[in-house]
């Protein structure tokens, strides 16, 4: 059967030709094609990767921005609140101080009034004493000419004193 008997000539040529084709294609076709493909795939992969990274970074930045914004808002509220508090505190403090100052002035005024009053009273007392002494002197000076006149004089002097 010729059909299933391999012929020497064709085996010979097939071996040589196939080897040559294989070597030439491996060196000048498959090697550049496969390395070119690999390179391109690597580039695509890297580009996709970096795009993904950029996207992630973007969203991170965005969320960070939002966070910052929220924080800023909170900070603002806090500051406002604090300012309000401080303002009211200052007002209250001022009020208190004014009150205490007023009280103090009032007290001191009161105290000085009392002092003055006391001093006045003491003076009155002194004056009264000295008057009494003068009266007594005058009485004594009159040397008690008559009882009635003496009495009248005393009465008169006392009257005068009361008037003072």
């Amino acid at each position: 059967m010729d059909l299933v008997t391999p012929q020497l000539g064709l085996i010979f040529w097939q071996t040589i030709t196939f080897l040559i084709v294989f070597i030439l294609l491996a060196k000048f076709a498959w090697n550049p094609i496969l390395s070119g493909l690999k390179e391109r795939e690597l580039t695509i992969e890297e580009s996709l990767e970096s795009a993904k990274k950029a996207k992630e970074e973007m969203s991170l930045l965005k969320s960070e921005n939002e966070k910052l914004l929220v924080e800023a808002r909170q900070e603002r509220d806090k500051i406002l609140k604090m300012a309000n508090e401080t303002a009211s505190q200052i007002v209250n403090k001022a009020k208190d101080e004014a009150q205490t100052e007023a009280n103090k002035q009032f007290e001191s005024a009161k105290a000085s009034i009392i002092n003055e009053k006391n001093a006045a009273l003491r003076e009155v007392e002194n004056i009264t004493a000295s008057l009494s002494l003068q009266i007594a002197e005058k009485i004594l000076k009159k040397e008690l000419t008559s009882d009635a006149s003496q009495l009248d004089l005393v009465k008169q002097y006392i009257k005068e004193t009361h008037l003072n």
Partner: protein
Amino acid sequence: MNLLKKIIFSLILLTGFISAQASESHSSESTEEFKPGEMILHHIMDAHEWHFASVGNYDYVIPLPIIIYSEKNGLVYFMSSEFRNAKREFQGYHLDHHEHIHSLYESEKIYDLSITKNVASLLLSALILIIVFTTVAGYYSVNEGKAPTGMQSFFEPIIVFVRDDVAKNVIGKKYERYMPYLLTVFFFIWVNNMLGLLPGGANLTGNIAVTMVLAIFTFIITTFTGNKTYWGHIFNTPGVPLALKPLIIPIEIVGMFTKPFSLMVRLFANITAGHIIILSLLGLIFIFKSIFASLISLPFAIFMSFLELFVALLQAYIFTLLTAMYFGAAVEEHHHEHEKHSSH
């Protein structure tokens, strides 16, 4: 496109070599009745000249070089047209009707290394492969960092398919070093299958010598790249009781050879069978000696031709896939028993 034009132009030039030659022996044959078996075998077998058509007493053929290595005369070469005489003899050599060359001297041992129709087709396909794929490779430096264009965009998906779905899938990590062989085998078989479908084309991949050489290359690469695990599976098959080993080892050794043998037969039989079916369908016209037979046989033959276009690709794929599987088995890493159990 430019390249395609060049190829077509060369083919047209080639047909210029077709010479009409009177063949007395053929003319006597043509008066005989039509023998479909002979016709089919004539078409699927190798020949020493490239025969396209016979019109009347004239055969339209491309004469091919006859190269004979004789122990006595050394290398002898002449054109096959020299055999076109009544006795089919030249310089003491005779070409019989089964396309065998014999020496007229019994004692002379000769080796027929002629550029037969198949060899010529083989050289043509080699030329096509080298031109096409070096051109495609050129695109990769021109289009570096850019999208593929032209022929590159046609072949790239195929190359990527062979790489990803055949080599990477089947062989695994070490696929890269087998890629040049797998790609060469795939495109060699595909191109030659397609050339074989052309009218007047040679049935190269349907020739057992060609498929045998391809299978032997696969066998050699498998054997020489086989690792410890591969040989361990053959000579010390895991999970086999010692008593069975004397039985298993010969089976495994035979298995080493049946794999490439099946590759050889599968491609040869598939391609040859396709050619035989188409030729048989067309032969019906001549058997019935009626043009009306073509009403049935022609649609079938056209259908078969389309099927063969698919088979041409399919068989190239199958040969490459099985080759990759054998390579994969040769470089498969050792699996521990418990890993196997856990994976199932």
